[in-house]
């Protein structure tokens, strides 16, 4: 009898040894929506080292399609464990049942420096107090000026009001023949004119969607004001200092906008963080050892303060995940200062304390200041209006007035009615 025990024990020990790692080894998928997946891959190697029982499969996706794919997968219970999303998708996806509520996980396990340290958290909540995403990286837009072009046009001071900006743009065209403020005015789901119009309205005391004291969502602007701002942006095209071709460009990073900037043939632009970084890097590679002519500055203002949106990406956990604990560990890692310091250096963490620790090089000082003025989308996203629908309609209304199909008054009324219609759903 005694002779059989060692082999038996050996067998049991072996079995235990084989089974336990298999039980502990967990695989999760992380879907990342930007083209620089290489950075994330390196970071995941780091993560797996720190968490030996977890393996992460990296899925990549095109940003434009990421949300729709998740919505489809929500309908059938599939999708990645952790997903890389835009700020403004989180609430919709939560309501659609694609993401799991994170209240418990944050309360029991914590994330970052605490939930209150995260920016724009109001966009992650539904009406019942559940929230569905953790803000991950943040960015905003700011003005970018080419010092050399401004000097050549005799402009000494950085524009501060919207009128200043238009005058400067005009002057650049008149005195140097170069493009003044070249911005995209085209249509599409991710158009830029939406941002430009909102920046103007917000800095002048208006807003498309607001919340009144009783908590009801209302329009915070008049059709006349909408028309006025449309007319303002259109004047750049009509007066010629923004080329008409830009009516057909919708996104900032297209070569039609970036290339003239890089060649010094345009004086003023408005750019999101990452496009600006890419512009600077391109320019430096084309002009080695020369001083950078670009500097950034806050957006102009009307009667109020300069205001832009606080944009960014969030991380969400799939409602159908089988590994919520492992998924949460990944989320915690991706929102740690270590991660941003080591792997995700060029991005800004969506946490106030970490943002304060970020080093802004001289050409990025404007963005640093702009972050203090940036506001979250707030009622636009938390209200019943579909933000993407308003986004798209703004470009459509603006465009049809710009090509003369309707008057600016009619276009302003069209957008106003559209927003009012969206808000009826509450």
């Amino acid at each position: 009898m005694a002779r059989h025990i060692p082999p038996l024990m050996l067998a049991l020990v072996l079995a235990a040894a084989l089974v336990t790692p298999a039980l502990a080894q967990v695989t999760i998928t992380f879907r990342y929506a930007f083209p620089d997946g290489d950075l994330i891959r390196d970071a995941l190697v780091d993560f797996e080292k720190r968490n030996p029982g977890i393996k992460v499969n990296l899925q990549r996706s095109s940003f434009a399609e990421a949300r729709d794919q998740l919505v489809r997968e929500a309908a059938v219970g599939g999708g990645p464990d952790v997903a890389h999303l835009a700020f403004v998708w989180v609430r919709d996806l939560g309501i659609a049942g694609a993401l799991m509520p994170l209240n418990d996980l944050v309360k029991t396990k914590g994330v970052g420096q605490g939930w209150d340290d995260f920016v724009a958290t109001n966009l992650t909540y539904d009406d019942k107090g559940n929230f569905y995403g953790v803000p991950f990286a943040t960015d905003t837009w700011a003005m970018v000026y080419n010092r050399q072009v401004l000097t050549a046009a005799g402009i000494a001071k950085t524009p501060e009001t919207w009128e200043d900006l238009r005058n400067a743009s005009r002057q650049i065209k008149q005195r140097t023949g170069k493009t003044g403020f070249g911005f995209p005015g085209g249509a599409g789901g991710n158009n830029s004119i939406w941002f430009l119009c909102n920046f103007y309205w917000w800095s002048d005391g208006g807003t498309l969607v607001d919340r009144d004291t009783s908590g009801k969502y209302v329009t915070g602007i008049t059709p006349e004001k909408i028309a006025e701002v449309f007319r303002y942006w259109d004047s750049y095209f009509k007066e010629g200092h923004n080329p008409k071709g830009n009516l057909a460009v919708a996104q900032i990073f297209e070569p039609q906008i970036m290339e003239p900037l890089a060649r010094g043939e345009q004086g003023i632009a408005i750019l999101p963080v990452w496009s600006y970084i890419s512009l600077v890097s391109d320019w430096r590679k084309r002009n080695p050892n020369q001083e950078l002519p670009f500097y950034s500055a806050p957006t102009p203002h009307g009667s109020g303060k300069p205001t832009t949106h606080l944009g960014g990406q969030s991380l969400g956990v799939n409602a159908n995940t089988k590994q919520p604990d492992a998924a949460w560990k990944l989320v915690q890692f991706l929102t740690s200062w270590d991660f941003f310091q080591t792997h995700y250096k060029a991005y800004y963490p969506a946490q106030k304390s970490l943002l304060a620790r970020m080093n802004f090089p001289p050409e990025m000082k404007g963005f640093q200041e702009q972050f203090t003025y940036a506001r979250s989308w707030g009622p636009y996203s938390t209200g019943p209006a579909v933000i993407g629908a308003m986004w798209n309609q703004t470009a459509r209304s603006f465009g049809s007035a710009a090509i003369g199909e309707k008057s600016f008054e009619a276009a302003g009324k069209e957008l106003y009615d559209f927003v009012a219609e969206q808000l009826k759903k509450q």
Binding site: T29, S62, F63, Q69, M258, E259, W274, S278, K285
Partner: protein, 299 residues
């Protein structure tokens, strides 16, 4: 009919001389020289228009991102190709080849069977059924994607070869049948009738007699179907979310970000997407021509 000496000599002239009659110019030396010049000039314009943009794509794929749009000559690099293959393009290429080839084989096989019956066998409801085949082409594809996704995920066919191959076969079927029917119309019935009299079964007639003659038509249909599946994006996007299953178009689109795009990678990806189809076409392009030919000949 009385022929003048001029007519007689024209009739007796070689094909080259006779064919130039189609353009209506008398074959004098100078005239011909000018005519050549004109035709070749137009041909040159056509070549420039067709090839120019594609040449720019290929040229750009060898540039760095910073110099791609600058119009400069600097920055030659193979880095873009290295990048796309490092991020999985080899797998995407393999997937596209397997999926499209399988879908085309299945759809061609099925459409040969159906086309034979449509063109050779007068049966009741033939008209109705033939029209109904085309009914699939009526819909804009984007409204098909969402329900198909739901259906296929319920049967567990997402992220799998069988699922997407089935879809692509279904997409290629309607016009494959259409083209093959048109082709079969020009092949005389007498051939298969003779074979039947000799005692062949229906199936033998199809595969041993008709299929070989139809081969050029089948090559043509197969090529059209392949190209259709090769650049298909909407269904692949919905069905294939895991990296190891993706096809080339998905790989290409993944280089578009929110605020930036990796232009060099996009150009390299485009070159890699275009080249295999060219390689496939090269040996087939002769067959392609004769395949389409008989489909247009009317008795």
């Amino acid at each position: 009919m009385i022929r003048t000496p001029a007519e007689r000599s024209t009739a007796a002239a070689g094909p080259a001389t006779r064919s130039c009659i189609v353009t209506g110019v008398r074959p004098s030396r100078v005239r011909r020289g000018l005519q050549d010049l004109l035709v070749l000039a137009v041909l040159g314009v056509v070549w420039a228009f067709m090839l120019g943009p594609a040449a720019w794509i290929f040229y750009s794929s060898l540039q760095t991102n910073e110099t791609l749009f600058s119009g400069g000559m600097g920055g030659f690099t193979l880095g873009n190709y290295a990048k796309i293959f490092r991020t999985g393009f080899r797998v995407f290429l393999f997937n596209s080849l397997v999926i499209c080839a399988a879908a085309v084989v299945i759809s061609t096989f099925v459409s040969v069977l159906a086309a034979y019956v449509f063109s050779r066998k007068p049966f009741r409801l033939r008209r109705l059924l033939f029209s109904s085949v085309l009914s699939g082409q009526l819909f804009p594809w984007i409204i098909l994607v969402t329900p198909l996704f739901i259906l296929f995920s319920r049967v567990g066919l997402l992220n799998s070869y069988p699922g997407i191959i089935f879809c692509y076969s279904a997409i290629a079927l309607p016009f494959s049948v259409y083209l093959l029917v048109g082709y079969l119309q020009s092949i005389p019935h007498s051939l298969d009738e003779a074979a039947r009299i000799d005692g062949a079964t229906q199936y033998q007639v199809i595969w041993k007699i008709v299929f070989p003659i139809m081969l050029p038509g089948i090559v043509a249909t197969t090529t059209y179907a392949f190209l259709l599946c090769w650049s298909e994006y909407l269904l692949a996007l919905a069905f294939l979310s895991e990296e190891h299953m993706k096809t080339l178009p998905l790989g290409l689109y993944s280089f578009f970000g929110q605020d930036t795009a990796d232009w060099g990678a996009i150009m390299a990806a485009s070159a890699v997407t275009t080249l295999p189809t060219l390689v496939l076409f090269l040996p087939l392009q002769r067959r392609l021509a004769s395949g389409l030919t008989a489909g247009a000949v009317k008795q």
